[in-house]
C-alpha cells in the first residue's frame, strides 16, 4: 500500500521510505545501502512515481518493499527480464534493480549478462556477501575456493566468479564497486550510477554478519584497508597505501605493485620503485575495456582491490534502439493500417 506523500515536492531521503519496516538481521550491511540509496534519490531529485525498484529473490531482494516508489519483488534470478520488459514499455522510468551474488550470478547469470550487453537503462545494485543468506548459509558463486559452509563441509571445490569481470565481459557501459560501510564513497558511486545512461553495474561488498561475518574485513578494517583497497579516480594514477606510497604499474599484460619513487619503502626491498609518471593512469572512459577488466582481476591478498568507477562509457540504450526502429518503420512504410494488413496481398471475392 502507498502513503500519501506528494511526489512533486522536493523530497528528503526519509520520503523514500515505505510504511514497511525492514526485516533484515540487525547489523546487516543492507541497512547502509538502503540508507545511501534513499539519500542519493533525494539528492538527484528523483520523482517517486517515476522510480521503480525491481528485485529477484534473496535477502537483498526485499529492498523494493522498503521503498516508497513503484516496486516489483519478482522471482529468483529473473529480475533482469522484468526490467527489460518494463523499460521497453516505459523507457523513461528510472529503474533500479537490486540483486545478490546468488540471484544475479548463479540462477540469473544468463539474464544478467544479456541485460548488460543490451545496455538496458537500469542501475544494478549487486549486494555481494559471498554467501547464501536467505537459505541460511550455503556457498555462493562469489565464495572463495575452499570456503567451508553448510553445503561444503570440506570446503568449496568451486572457483569464484568476479562480478565486475562478468559485467565487463558482457560489454557493460558502467561498472563500479563500493563497500557497504564506506558510506561516503558508496553515496558517490551510487550517484554516479544514478546519472549513468545505460546498464550501470555496481558491486557492493556487503557484510552478512550472520552467515559470513567479516568476509570483507580486509577492506573495511581501519588498520588494513588503505593497503588492501585502492580508490579509482578518472585521470589519476593508481596510488594506494596509508602514506600513498605505493602504486600500480602495468608490466607486460600484468599489473604490478611498485613503490612510488621518492617515498619510503614500507614493504622492504621486494618492491621495485617507479617514478609517479610510470604508474597506470585510470581511464574510466577508455573504449577498450581491457584495462578495466585487468583491474577487475586484482584481488586481495595479491593486490589492493579497486573501489570506485572501473568503466563509464556512453553507449546506445536498448529501449531507445528498439523504439527508433518503430519510428523508422513508420517513416518508411507509413503508419500501419490494420484493415490493409488483414486483407493481405492476395484476396478473392465470393
Amino acid at each position: 500500500m502507498s502513503t500519501a506523500t506528494p511526489s512533486t515536492n522536493v523530497l528528503k531521503a526519509a520520503d523514500f521510505a515505505s510504511d514497511q519496516d525492514p526485516r533484515w538481521c540487525p547489523g546487516c550491511g543492507d541497512y547502509a545501502i538502503l540508507a545511501q540509496t534513499k539519500k542519493v534519490l533525494a539528492k538527484i531529485g528523483a520523482d517517486r512515481s517515476k522510480t521503480v525498484f525491481i528485485s529477484g529473490i534473496g535477502c537483498s531482494s526485499r529492498f523494493p518493499s522498503y521503498m516508497n516508489t513503484y516496486g516489483f519483488h519478482s522471482i529468483h534470478g529473473r529480475a533482469p527480464t522484468l526490467v527489460t520488459g518494463l523499460k521497453l514499455a516505459q523507457p523513461e522510468l528510472n529503474v533500479w534493480m537490486v540483486t545478490g551474488d546468488g540471484d544475479a550470478l548463479s540462477i540469473g547469470g544468463n539474464h544478467l549478462i544479456h541485460m548488460i550487453r543490451r545496455n538496458v537503462d537500469v542501475k544494478i545494485l549487486l549486494f555481494n556477501n559471498r554467501i547464501y543468506g536467505l537459505t541460511k548459509g550455503q556457498y555462493s558463486p562469489t565464495s572463495e575456493h575452499g570456503k567451508k559452509t553448510k553445503s561444503t563441509p570440506m570446503g568449496s571445490p568451486d572457483m569464484p566468479v568476479r562480478p565486475i569481470s562478468i559485467a565487463i565481459a558482457a560489454e557493460a557501459s558502467f561498472a563500479a564497486r563500493a563497500v557497504d560501510i564506506d558510506v561516503k564513497h558508496l553515496e558517490y558511486v551510487l550517484e554516479r550510477a544514478a546519472k549513468h545512461k545505460g546498464s550501470a553495474f555496481v558491486e557492493i561488498y556487503q557484510n552478512c554478519n550472520i552467515f559470513n561475518d567479516g568476509a570483507f574485513e580486509y577492506a573495511t578494517d581501519k588498520l588494513t584497508k588503505s593497503d588492501t583497497t585502492l580508490y579509482l579516480e578518472h585521470g589519476k594514477p593508481l596510488i594506494f597505501g596509508k602514506e600513498l606510497d605505493k602504486g600500480i604499474r602495468v608490466h607486460g599484460m600484468n599489473p604490478e605493485i611498485v613503490r612510488v619513487k621518492g617515498t619510503n619503502d614500507p614493504q622492504g626491498p621486494s618492491l621495485s620503485s617507479s617514478p609517479a609518471d610510470d604508474l597506470l593512469i585510470h581511464d574510466e572512459k577508455a573504449e577498450n575495456p581491457s584495462l578495466a577488466f585487468m583491474l577487475s582481476r586484482m584481488r586481495h591478498p595479491d593486490f589492493p582491490e579497486p573501489l570506485g568507477v572501473f568503466r563509464a562509457v556512453d553507449q546506445e540504450r536498448y529501449a531507445q534502439l528498439v523504439r527508433n526502429q518503430s519510428v523508422d518503420a513508420v517513416e518508411r512504410l507509413g503508419k500501419g493500417d490494420l484493415q490493409t494488413l488483414l486483407r493481405g496481398s492476395e484476396t478473392w471475392t465470393v
Binding site: G71, H73, R78, L86, L88, N110, V330, L341, G344, T347
Partner: protein
C-alpha cells in the same frame, strides 16, 4: 472425395483436346526431398486454388532436420492440399494424386494414396543408389508395387533440364526449378491458371532475371507436358466453392495469431510487445510481428524462454499489451514465471503452439498433449484461463478474446494452438476492422481507498486495478510473495493465504467468455456426443456430417474455453447415451471432463504427430456403438494396434 459428377468437357487450349472431368473435391500431395522445394510448390498450388475460389485446407509435413541427407526417408518433405467446391474442414483423408520426386518420397507417402489414385513420379531419380537410400530392394516402378494406382512416370530431371537449358544458368541452378516443372504439370492436371505463380516468380526473382526466366520456363514446360503427353488421358476441374460471400484471403494459424495481436493493439489503443524465444513451430509468429513495427508492435527476442515470460510480465507491469509465444518445452520453462503473473495478477497472453512431446519430441509434428500442462503445470494453486483455437482462422478472434479476458480480469491467459493449424492454411473471410470488439482498459489515476491506493482491492469481476508506474500517488509494490488482501503487502497469515487462494481461483472460475465457449454441431440429444477441443474441430465436424448422412444419431461440441469449462457442458453431455472425446493425446480432456462432471466419457486417441482423418473418427464412433471398447478407449483403427514399420518412416 473425387467422385466424377460430369464429364466430356474438352481442353480448348490443347491441340489434341483431352476430356475434362469435373470433380467436387480433390486432395493432392507434393512430396520430395527437403531441398526439393515441395513446401513452395504446395503453397503456390494453395494460393492459386484459393484465388480460384475453392475452399482449401492444407497440411504441410516436414522433417525437423533442415536438410537431412538427400534422398533418404528421413529427409522427405510433403505438402498436402485439399481443394473443393464445397465447405471442407480437413486437409483430406486420402490423397487423389501424389507427386513423388524420389523413391523415398514415394515410399513414405504411397500409403496415403487412395486405390486407383494418380501417382506421378520423377523417373529420373529412381537409380539403384536412389532406391537404396529409400531402402527399396527392387524398383517399385517395375515390380508391381504400384499396380493398384495410376502410375505416371515423368522424366522430370531431363525435361526440366531441356526447358531451362538456354537460360545461361548452370545445371545446379536449373535443377532447382524441378519443383516448378512438377507444379506446372499438376496445374494442367487440375485446370489451374499459371498467372499467380508467374507473378510470384517475377516478384521473388526481380533482381535475378535468369532465375526468374528458368523458373518460368520450367513451370510452363510442366504445363505443356500435360497437354501433349500421352500419359494423361483426361484432366480435371474443381469448381468454385459456395462460401459465404465476401472478401477472402488465405491464412495459417500462426499468421492469424500474429494478426490477432496487431488487432488487439489497435482495439485497445495500446502498444503490444511480443517477447519470445525462437522455437518450432511458434517462431513464425515472432517473424510476422517483427515485420509490423509500424503498427505499434515491438518484438523482443529474449535470451531464453524464461526471459521471454519475465519480460512479458515487465511489459504488463509497464502497461503495454504483453504476449509471449512458445511450444510445449518452452511452456515448461515459463511455468514459474507464469505463476508470478498469477500472483501479481498482470495480463499476459501466452501462446503455446503445441508439438509432439515429451521433451524435444517431434518438433515439426502436431499434438495436443499440453492441455494438462496448461491447466496444472505450475507450483501451488495456480489457475490460468485457457482458450484453444479450433482452426487456423479461429486463431485471430480467439487471440483477441484472450487479450480481452487477460485485461478485463487481470490474469495471464494461455492460448493453445498446435502445429497442424499453425502451419495449415485455409480461406478466411477478412473481417471489417470497425466491427471488431474494442478492448476496454482502465488505468486508475487516483487512490481507490481512504487509506490510499490499494493495489489488491478488487472490482466486481474480481480484478485488481492496473495502476501503472509513472502515475503520481499510486506508488505500490507487488511480487511473488503472498499478498495481504486489499493492501497487497507481504503477508504470511495462514487465513489470509487461504482467502487469497480462493479469491484467485474464484476469479478464474467465474470468467465469462469473450466469444463462443464452444462450437456445437448437430442435435441437442442423441446417441453419441463427440467432445473435442482445438484443432480437431474440422475432422470432428466433417465426421458428424458423414455419420449423420449414414443415419447415426450424433452431435459434436468443440470446446474453445477450456478453463473455466462451460458450466452447462455437464447437462449437455447427459443428453447423449455416449460421450466420446477424440484427442491427439492419451485422454487429457477426457480426464478433466470425468473429474469435473462425473460423466463416463470415452476416449478416441491418436498420438502420431498427425491430425485425425475423418474416417478415423467415423470408425471410432462405429466401434463405440458396437461396444468395442478397450478400457475407456476406442482405437482409431477399430481393430488391432497399428503396425509399427521397421523402417525409418516419416509418413
Amino acid at each position: 472425395m473425387s467422385t466424377v459428377i460430369e464429364s466430356a468437357e474438352t481442353d480448348g487450349a490443347s491441340g489434341s483436346p483431352k476430356p475434362r472431368k469435373t470433380l467436387p473435391a480433390v486432395t493432392i500431395r507434393f512430396a520430395g526431398d527437403s531441398g526439393d522445394g515441395m513446401q513452395l510448390a504446395g503453397t503456390q498450388f494453395t494460393d492459386t486454388s484459393a484465388l480460384l475460389g475453392n475452399d482449401i485446407s492444407t497440411l504441410p509435413d516436414f522433417p525437423a532436420e533442415i536438410r537431412a541427407p538427400a534422398g533418404t526417408l528421413a529427409g522427405v518433405s510433403g505438402y498436402q492440399i485439399h481443394f473443393s467446391s464445397n465447405d471442407i474442414f480437413t486437409p483430406g483423408d486420402e490423397v487423389d494424386a501424389l507427386v513423388a520426386m524420389n523413391p523415398a518420397a514415394l515410399r513414405t507417402n504411397l500409403k496415403s494414396v487412395k486405390i486407383g489414385g494418380i501417382v506421378i513420379v520423377n523417373e529420373d531419380s529412381f537409380s539403384a543408389v536412389d532406391l537404396k537410400k529409400a531402402q527399396y530392394t527392387a524398383n517399385p516402378l517395375e515390380d508391381g508395387t504400384l499396380g493398384r494406382y495410376r502410375l505416371v512416370k515423368v522424366p522430370i530431371d531431363k525435361l526440366n533440364a531441356a526447358a531451362t537449358a538456354d537460360t545461361g544458368l548452370g545445371a545446379k541452378d536449373t535443377d532447382r526449378c524441378k519443383n516448378m516443372f512438377a507444379l506446372g504439370l499438376v496445374y494442367w492436371l487440375y485446370g489451374r491458371p499459371l498467372d499467380a505463380t508467374l507473378g510470384y516468380i517475377n516478384k521473388k526473382f526481380a533482381k535475378k532475371p535468369q532465375v526468374a526466366s528458368a523458373n518460368t520456363k520450367a513451370l510452363q514446360a510442366g504445363y505443356n507436358f500435360g497437354i501433349t503427353t500421352e500419359l494423361f488421358q483426361e484432366h480435371y476441374e474443381v469448381p468454385k466453392a459456395k462460401l459465404a460471400s465476401g472478401l477472402y484471403r488465405k491464412i495459417t494459424g500462426n499468421e492469424a495469431v500474429a494478426l490477432g495481436m496487431v488487432a488487439a493493439a489497435h482495439l485497445s489503443g495500446k502498444e503490444l510487445i511480443y517477447c519470445s524465444y525462437p522455437i518450432t513451430p511458434a517462431s513464425d509468429i515472432l517473424h510476422e510481428l517483427s515485420a509490423r513495427k509500424n503498427f505499434g508492435v515491438m518484438t523482443f527476442q529474449a535470451e531464453d524462454e524464461i526471459a521471454a515470460m519475465g519480460a512479458a510480465i515487465g511489459v504488463a507491469f509497464g502497461g503495454s499489451l504483453a504476449a509471449t509465444g512458445t511450444s510445449g518445452p518452452g511452456l515448461a520453462l515459463k511455468g514459474e514465471a507464469i505463476g508470478l503473473a498469477v500472483m501479481t495478477e498482470l495480463p499476459v497472453v501466452i501462446v503455446n503452439v503445441q508439438r509432439g512431446g515429451p521433451s524435444t519430441g517431434l518438433p515439426t509434428k502436431t499434438e495436443q498433449a499440453d492441455l494438462l500442462q496448461a491447466m496444472f503445470g505450475r507450483n501451488g494453486e495456480c489457475p490460468v484461463p485457457i482458450l484453444a483455437a479450433t482452426s487456423a482462422s479461429d486463431c485471430f478472434s480467439a487471440l483477441i478474446e484472450a487479450f480481452t479476458i487477460a485485461t478485463k480480469y487481470m490474469t495471464p491467459v494461455l492460448f493453445l494452438s498446435d502445429g497442424y493449424i499453425a502451419n495449415g492454411a485455409e480461406p478466411w473471410l477478412v473481417p471489417d476492422v470497425d466491427e471488431l470488439p474494442k478492448i476496454v482498459i482502465h488505468h486508475p489515476t487516483a487512490a481507490n481507498d481512504e487509506g490510499g491506493f490499494m493495489p489488491y482491492k478488487r472490482n466486481e469481476d474480481g480484478a485488481r486495478p492496473w495502476a501503472l508506474p509513472g502515475t503520481p500517488g499510486l506508488e505500490h509494490r507487488i511480487g511473488g510473495l503472498e499478498k495481504q488482501d486489499v493492501t497487497g503487502n507481504v503477508s504470511y497469515d495462514p487465513a489470509n493465504h487461504e482467502h487469497m487462494i480462493h479469491l484467485r481461483a474464484q476469479k478464474v472460475a467465474e470468467i465469462k467468455p469473450a466469444g463462443s465457449a464452444y462450437l456445437w454441431n448437430g442435435p441437442q440429444s442423441g446417441d453419441v456426443l463427440l467432445v473435442g477441443w482445438g484443432s480437431t474441430y474440422g475432422a470432428i465436424r466433417a465426421a458428424v456430417q458423414q455419420l449423420t448422412e449414414e443415419g447415426v444419431s450424433v452431435a459434436s461440441c468443440q470446446i474453445r474455453y477450456l478453463n473455466p469449462l462451460p458450466e452447462q457442458l455437464g447437462e449437455m453431455m447427459k443428453r447423449f447415451k455416449h460421450v466420446l472425446a477424440p484427442e491427439m493425446n492419451l485422454g487429457q480432456l477426457r480426464m478433466l471432463l470425468r473429474a469435473k462432471f462425473l460423466i463416463d466419457v470415452q476416449g478416441l486417441n491418436k498420438v502420431r504427430g498427425q491430425p485425425f482423418t475423418i474416417s478415423e473418427i467415423t470408425r471410432g464412433v462405429h466401434a463405440l456403438l458396437r461396444g468395442n471398447l478397450n478400457g475407456h478407449m476406442v482405437s482409431v483403427n477399430d481393430g488391432p494396434a497399428p503396425q509399427i514399420e521397421a523402417i525409418n518412416d516419416e509418413g
